[in-house]
Amino acid sequence: MSDPVLQVADLDVRFGDVRAVRGVGYEVRAGEVLGIVGESGSGKSVTALAVMGLLPPHARVTGSVRLRGTEILGAKEKTLTAFRGRTISMVFQDPLSALTPVYRVGDQIAEAVRVHQKVTAEQAMVRAVELLDLVGIPNPGQRARAFPHEFSGGMRQRAVIAMAVANDPDVIICDEPTTALDVTIQAQVLDVLKKAQKETGAAIVMITHDLGVVAGFADRVLVMYAGRAVEVGQVDDIYYRPRMPYTMGLLGSVPRLDAGGRRPLVPIEGNPPSPAELPPGCPFTPRCPMAIEACAEAEPPLEPVNGPGHLAACIRAEEIARENLSPAEVYDVAGEVRGRHAATPEPAAEPAAGPAVRAAPTPREGREVVLSVADLVKHYPLTKGAVFRRRVGTVHAVDGITFDIRRGETLGLVGESGCGKTTTLTEILELTKPQRGTIAVLGRDVAALGARDRTALRRDMQVVFQDPLASLDPRMTVYDILAEPLRTQGRRDAGTRVRELLDLVGLDPGHAARYPQDFSGGQRQRIGIARALALEPKLVLLDEPVSALDVSIQAGVVNLLEDLRRRLGLSYLFVAHDLAVVRHLADRVAVMYLGRIAEIGDVERVYGAPMHPYTQALLSAIPLPDPVKERSRRRILLEGDLPSPAHPPSGCRFRTRCPKFKALTDGERVRCVEVEPEVRPLDVDQGVACHYAEKLEVV
């Protein structure tokens, strides 16, 4: 094996008194991919910036960072600038802000070339266009002259990658390179990264919170918790033989796209510790199901378990290895869930919707329709320019969609950004006459509602938003937040109800006097859920309720939602981009593309045997947290970006990117180009809007 190109040892980063990174060390060799996995606050991004020497001046960094044997930590700026961009380069998380808004993309890439190579401006520009071509930007010569805001998120990330590989670096550090992107775009970008690596032979350090991304991409994985590496090893060792309870918890809490049926997820209790006040001993002790007294005494070092390449920082790692404990055994899944239910008293629910209501027993057709949407259309004007505003077109955000939700049922509305799922949700929430089509809530057509009826109907339909911090007024106490819907709808018994609600979502009623910012993300989302339930609604619209949460926290909220639905007989419209979460929560799923429903039906059927080429591509693009499966999966890569919703393609909207369309004969294609396919039921509960639908297993 070759010498490591990047060696990091004993890296320590302090911001004032806070130790954000505590003694992290790793090395990568040419051509190798190291995945660094951790939740927010684990110090993984700070580690990356420290290696690049890009932390703000008030950060104190100690330890050692060797690049091809040269120590670069604390080196002079001249040395650093010579290395940065040439030997080591970086891809940042947010492609929207990573490019300077006032310069052309091509110029910014050419700048990266000219910093390190003695070439003329023209030569650099030629190289920039080549690089754009390499990262798969169509029409690179012309696109190089565009400004960053004219690029989509995926294209910007490609441009950043082009910049990173411009000088043929030895190491590329990727800090959550695909987190801000949609899954099909993520698949494209990961593909580009792989290609770039092949081209340059560089080592890649891949920082991510997504265990799926790393599974198929990395050779080795390092797990970080509270600023430290807690487990390192070959990717298979980490995924199949984890030896640190945190790693196990992380793996157990990820909703799996490939897991059928509704098995409760394994949340890790509690919250990640604040770097400012770490618990004594092993920082995971307070959340660890296997913690013993000795754990709180001293922080365990990273030590080898089963073989030299696999290290874990846990005093019980040997024990876990000996008995080969699985995450489920360590976290005692069934017992934990049972215990929580027993502890919470059954609240007074709607009499008609007692605990007896289940999705399965009564057949779907026999249950009451809670929400029905027919041929819903929402167009809005597209304006351009901030100073010289003008209308340039019409966005066809939602263009004729139909679905219904029955009592006690969850419909997952999925799709990538720009597909119109959130617009659909907002249109329903407005309770006003849509531009076209009808919306009926609990059998009442909203177009016919008076102001008073509308307010009354709001009681039966509530919403939980994506960002738990943004959805709670920071100036109000939890009590006031929960009492607001009650007061608005004229209920007097706010005090007791608030206590009930907090109890219902698993929060301490004694905390009612606190402010939202005093709670962690997961707890805030529970407050949001409690507020939605305050008026005992029948239908709850969930707008990406868990996508802002870390996986270990997300699992707890997902379980709570499922539990509440069952106990209170709620119906959910669950809007999400994460198809794995939807598989866990939903009975039925509707896949949207460019304002239309591509496929709708029973979750098991749609996931098990998707028929629309878009559903197939979408499902295949989602990485599984399972290295063996990932390596053997065939990924359907879509070409290009989502077309602008202002100019949807004629006929079938998906045809411009459709792999199926490409395989058709010219004669067959005519139908796709000319006729917009309607959703046709093809199976008992599965409908597809495709002229040439065909079953295909992709998960």
Binding site: F15, S40, S45, L49, V463, A470, T488
Partner: protein
């Protein structure tokens, strides 16, 4: 910076939640700048309102035995050409300036908050009409209008002066408030309130305006100083507070003529004015930092 902040942000506060007001106050008072500004302003108020009790001269008295005399035991800060006691008239001027400044700031900021929030919340025609009025007031030369109206302010009608001054100070803030309201409206807690059926005016007063309180408090503070400065300038040219009442502006105008050979006629008024405005600005700036959770200054 943002990465580190982000990573540090996800923490659970375990201590009993102190109220926001107290947090801001604590941050404010740990800043040296804030302490200084507050102490200075308190001193100015004390001087302006308690000071006159320490001399038997009032601002209307004329000592015909002492014209343009330097400071002495009888006239602490000397006398003017008219024989008026500089100490007495300066403190009277300060009282006027402080009261005018505070009132103008309250009126202007309230107006800005309400107009901006309604325009930003409702958008459409409400917005167009309100913002047109704002544009009109921005185009109207305020100094000129106030100057023209100055004869109306004579004879104790200084309240009208306060209202007119406030009328020309709120527009830019209200544009800022409007912008913030537009973005606040996107925030989900506003949507949540809407979707539970809370009426729009209630949302504006319960959710929108309180969530801009930091901006508004800071702005009100800074409006105090702009009001004092504008008042001074107008009074300097004889367009503000009308005789026999005095203001720091009219005193500075009189004093500047004699400043070369009788510095006390100019510097006491000018110095106190500068200290007052400086203290208000220091408070405003520290408050901004105290309200801003991402600020690195303070605790």
């Amino acid at each position: 910076m943002s990465i580190a902040d982000e990573e540090l942000a996800e923490q659970v506060v375990k201590i009993k939640a102190p109220s926001r007001g107290r947090v801001v106050a604590r941050r404010f008072f740990t800043m040296r700048q804030g302490q200084l500004g507050f102490a200075l302003l308190a001193l100015m108020f004390l001087l302006a309102f308690a000071g006159p009790h320490f001399t038997h001269w009032t601002y209307t008295d004329k000592d015909f035995a002492a014209f343009l005399r330097p400071p002495s035991a009888e006239h602490y800060w000397g006398t003017l050409q008219t024989g008026a006691d500089v100490f007495a008239v300066t403190l009277r001027g300060m009282q006027k300036s402080l009261i005018v400044g505070l009132l103008v700031a309250v009126v202007a900021t309230t107006l800005a908050a309400v107009v901006g929030a309604f325009a930003g919340y409702f958008l459409g025609w409400t917005d167009r009409v309100l913002m047109w009025v704002v544009d009109l007031l921005l185009v109207l030369p305020s100094f000129l209008i106030l100057a023209i109206m100055s004869p109306l302010f004579a004879g104790g009608a200084w309240v009208l002066f306060v209202i007119m001054l406030a009328l020309f100070l709120w527009m830019i803030t209200s544009k800022v408030v409007r912008g913030m309201t537009v973005s606040l409206k996107e925030r989900e807690f506003i949507s949540a309130a809407r979707y539970m059926g809370v009426p729009a005016p209630t949302i504006i007063f319960r959710h929108v305006i309180p969530n801009m309180s930091s901006l508004l408090v800071v702005d009100a503070t800074l409006n105090v100083s702009s009001a004092i400065l504008t008042e001074t300038t107008l009074s300097y040219f004889g367009f503000g507070i009308q005789p026999p009442d005095v203001s720091l502006g009219s005193l500075i105008a009189d004093g500047s003529k004699t400043a070369v050979f009788a510095p006390w006629t100019f510097w006491f008024a000018a110095g106190l004015l500068i200290l007052t405005v400086l203290s208000v600005n220091l408070i405003g700036d520290s408050l901004r930092d105290a309200f801003d959770p991402t600020s690195k200054r303070g605790s």
